[in-house]
């Protein structure tokens, strides 16, 4: 190495160090800033803080906390022409919702043909965000079936079910007689089993006297009503347009509603629908069940705006504005059905079914069912404004990292990095003396450069990324170890210091390059293959290894050039 190249290299190294420090400054400033100062900055100069956060090294979700969900858009029910851009439309709508929810730097992108990744860093209320993103938000208005018809249909359902159970009961009895004592027929469905058991209980007074089991006692007492009206005995009529189903009866009612014989009774253009929420009535929890007309009278596509509000009873509601055409249609609908209830349905569930008081034109309101929180009105307004998703979505991957877990990872990661770092520095200094200290200098620079390059490239630091940095620290000394060991060997053969240094660097070089390239190959594969945290690892490792080539070979070389003139070499 000539005097000239050495000077050039020195200038280059100094320049690189300065550039690195410039890139690292925002990160160091942000990370060392006390929480109180951050808060004052947030209120006084929010733009400065955002700027600083942008310039600082990005932290991955696993360190910062936040939410990562992958949604799959179910296009199976779409027509081919709707399918074309369904995912893109869904993505736009979700982006709109997230923007309105107010999350800083959300990441929303398409993955493959029908998936959408949503990443929301540093989020507190994950459940709410999840509901907001995953909701289809299909708003529909439907009329209710008239009371007379409803009563008739319910009566028919009761009759059919009663007949069915009668038949079943007889069948059971016959089978009892044939098989003898066994009261339970294992082949029957669970539901039928329960019925059989209940009926059996009436014949066995012992089980009635078993007062510890109050539920079975009650069932037995209600037995007559139950056999006559198997369906309506499961619910209560509070005089509204709806049926109150106690929450514990809901599974059974749902099962009955799926019964093909029951489905056959419900008229073609009618359907049953549950309310969105449960409600406490007279101290018990109920879910309302409505009998609706299937026809969609009006839908959310005519909405131009929706705002949450409290009504005069301090109950949350959403006020909306309609397009001109929507207003016309809505006026026609409401005008023709004054004093009738109109069900407001969101994603197949009845939000509420208020009675139309007067003709409504382009301004309307959605009263939320009982027990709704104001937050829900806020979110409903958001999804209504952003529009409905073109197709339902399912969450196929869901990762939520709480902020405290992220903090914990940062603390443990940095602690092990710092300990590992100093352990290596100490070892090298002891083992190779002054040469070791020079190698340590290279290791320190390696770390500084690595962090700076990651900052400059806008790379993201993850927990495996921290592990990658630690690993780099351990491995980056390898190049210097190879060189030093070689120099020692050359010195042993009796070479001069000058010749030993030259030979050491020259001969070790091929091994160093070969060894590092193999690591780079695997790191590149990992980068391609990995998800977020693993990518962070691959980036840290490959950059670290590449940079160590420079720090260990070039930078130490410049220093060793000076030492060539020394009479003894501390190595």
């Amino acid at each position: 190495m000539t005097q000239k190249t050495r000077s050039y290299l020195t200038v280059l190294i100094v320049f690189l160090i300065l550039a690195s420090l410039w890139y690292l400054y925002p990160s160091v400033r942000l990370w060392t800033m006390p929480q109180s100062e951050k808060e004052t900055l947030r209120t006084t100069e929010p733009q400065d803080l955002i700027e600083l956060e942008k310039k600082a090294l990005n932290l991955g979700l696993d360190l910062k906390g936040g939410m990562h969900v992958v949604l799959e858009v179910d296009q199976s029910k779409l027509k081919p022409e709707e399918r074309r851009d369904a995912v893109d439309r869904a993505l736009e709508i979700i982006r709109n919702r997230v923007d309105q929810f107010g999350v800083t730097e959300p990441l929303i992108q398409k993955q493959g043909g029908d998936r959408i990744i949503v990443e929301l860093p540093g989020l507190q209320d994950v459940d709410r965000a999840q509901a907001l993103i995953g909701q289809t938000a299909q708003l529909e208005y439907k009329l209710l079936e008239s009371d007379e018809n409803k009563v008739a249909i319910l009566k028919k359902i009761d009759e059919v079910l009663a007949q069915k159970e009668e038949a079943l009961f007889e069948e059971e009895e016959i089978s009892f007689e044939q098989e003898g004592e066994e009261p339970e027929e294992p082949k029957k469905t669970e539901d039928k089993k329960k019925i059989a058991k209940d009926l059996f209980a009436t014949e066995e007074p012992e089980s009635v006297s078993d007062t510890t089991d109050t539920s079975s006692f009650l069932e037995v007492e209600d037995e007559d009503i139950y056999t006559e009206r198997p369906f309506t005995s499961l619910m209560e009529n509070f005089g509204g347009f709806w049926l109150g189903v106690p929450i514990e009866n809901k599974p059974k009612v749902e099962l009955f509603l799926k019964d093909p014989d029951v489905l056959a009774i419900v008229p073609e253009d009618d359907e049953f629908a549950w309310a969105t929420r449960t409600q406490i009535i007279q101290g018990a929890e109920y879910q309302k069940l409505y009998l609706l007309k299937k026809r969609v009278e009006f839908s959310g596509k005519y909405l131009v705006d929706a705002r949450p509000r409290y009504d005069e009873y301090r109950k949350p509601e959403v006020n909306f504005t309609l397009t001109k055409e929507g207003g016309r249609r809505f006026a026609r609908l409401t005008g023709a059905n004054i004093n009738k209830p109109l069900a407001i349905i969101l994603d197949g569930r009845v939000e509420s079914a208020p009675v139309i008081q007067s003709k409504i034109r382009d301004q309307g309101r959605i009263t939320m069912g009982g027990g709704a929180r104001f937050e829900e009105a806020v979110d409903l307004a958001i999804v209504l404004r952003a529009g409905a998703l073109p197709a339902p979505v399912t969450v196929i991957e869901n990762r939520i990292i709480g902020p405290s877990l992220g903090q914990d990872s940062i603390r443990k990661g940095t602690t092990s990095a710092i300990i590992g770092f100093f352990a290596v520095l100490l070892f090298m200094a002891i083992y190779y003396k002054l040469s070791g200290v020079i190698a340590d200098f290279a290791v320190i620079l390696n770390l500084v450069f690595l962090m700076a390059v990651m900052s400059a490239l806008d790379a993201t630091l993850t927990l495996p990324g921290i592990a990658g940095i630690i690993l780099t620290v351990g491995m980056s000394v390898d190049a210097n170890v190879l060189i030093f060991e070689r120099i020692r060997e050359e010195l042993r053969t009796g070479k001069t210091i000058r010749a030993a240094i030259d030979a050491g660097y020259k001969r070790a070089l091929t091994a160093i390059i070969d060894a590092n390239i193999t690591t780079l190959i695997t790191a590149a594969v990992l980068f391609q293959f990995g998800t977020g945290p693993i990518k962070g690892f691959a980036v840290a490792l490959s950059l670290g290894v590449a940079i160590s080539l420079f720090t260990a070979v070039v930078i130490t070389r410049v220093i060793f050039e000076i030492r060539k003139g020394y009479r003894t070499l501390s190595i």
Binding site: D62, V70, V126, Q130, T394, V395, I396, E397, N398, R399, I400, I401, G402, S404, L405, D408, K412, G413, S416, I419, G420, F421, A423, F427, M428, I430, Y431, Y432, K433, L463, P464, A467, I470, L471, G474, M475, D478, V481, L482, E485, R492, R507, T510, A511, A515, N516, T518, T519, I521, T522, A524, V525, L526, Q528, F529, T531, I534, F537, L541, I571
Partner: protein, 306 residues
């Protein structure tokens, strides 16, 4: 000059048959683990198998046994429950392998169970990981492809840099190292997660690093000793020459990974363990596996010393 080893002259090559026996046995475990993974019998992490993992803490004390009973009472017999040491007391990790198309339902189900079984003792969830079955399957496929590409890339590079024999020996050694670590993890009943696969790929690169340094020296010495010594002695000399480097580098790398293992936290714990094993095995294999392969091959069909 501080030295861990003075100039050594250990007969490594002479002990190669013992090494073959040890490696052979462990490789069998590795292959068993590999087959088990392939057949879906191994303990795959939720990244690959799909499933749900919850971390969080209870407000009041809950014993791990109570939690386990509560979970199995509600249809989660296979739930894995671990008590974690965090700032919050009563901190647990709960993992189930059950999956559903919509993964949020499983987490909600578990939270519902906890609410029902521990009334008045709220469980605060800190993190949720829910992986659907299709995501897991896709990742499995990706991982297999990644391992193959990495091995092919390494092989290609070594073949370009060295000759065919060295290339084959280096590839076998790398495969040996990965299988050995996999085998040991299998014996220790560790879960094969995404991070473990990452560790395996990383140590493939690292162990090769060691082999390459040794091969580099063997190649250099073969030129020097062309006429003089025999092949086995050349290899043995080369091993002894690079021995102190092997030990120093392994030591520094091992040191940092060991610290990671001790204080890095449970997310990184198994990852660090795999790397620790890889570093030890990587150093061992370049001496006892890679070099003997070259030697045996030369013995069978001499190429350099006819």
């Amino acid at each position: 000059m501080l030295e861990i080893l003075k100039k050594t002259n250990i007969d490594f090559i002479g002990k190669r048959y013992y090494a073959f026996a040890v490696s052979g046995i462990l490789v069998i475990f590795g292959i068993a683990a590999f087959i088990a993974i392939f057949l879906g019998k191994a303990d795959l992490g939720i990244d690959f198998a799909g499933g749900t993992m919850l971390q969080g803490y209870f407000e009041k004390e809950v014993r791990i046994g109570e939690l386990r009973d509560a979970m199995s009472r509600n249809g989660h017999d296979d739930a894995f429950i671990q008590s974690l040491h965090r700032e919050m007391p009563h901190y647990f990790l709960i993992r189930v392998k059950k999956t559903a198309e919509d993964v949020t339902t499983i987490a909600q189900d578990i939270l519902g169970i906890l609410e029902k079984e521990f009334p008045g003792n709220k469980f605060h969830k800190d993190s949720v990981d829910g992986i659907g079955p299709s995501v897991g399957r896709a990742l499995q496929k990706q991982a297999r492809v990644a391992v193959l590409i990495a091995l092919a890339g390494i092989l290609l590079y070594i073949w370009i840099r060295f000759d065919f024999r060295f290339g084959v020996a280096a590839t076998i050694t790398t495969l040996h190292d990965v299988l050995l670590v996999l085998g040991i993890l299998f014996i220790l009943q560790r879960e094969v997660s995404l991070l473990i696969v990452t560790a395996l790929l990383t140590l493939a690169g690292y162990s090769l690093n060691d082999t390459v340094v040794l091969f580099d020296r063997i190649r250099e010495n073969l030129k020097l000793f062309r006429r003089k010594g025999d092949f086995a002695r050349t290899i043995n000399t080369s091993i002894n020459e690079v021995l102190s480097r092997t030990i120093v580098t392994s030591l520094t790398t091992f040191l940092v990974v060991f610290i990671l293992f001790l204080v890095g936290g449970e997310v990184i714990h198994d990852f660090a363990l795999a790397l620790m094993l890889g570093i030890i095995i990587g150093s061992y294999s370049s001496v006892f596996v890679a070099s003997p392969i070259i030697l045996e091959w030369e013995k069978k069909s001499p190429k350099r010393f006819k």
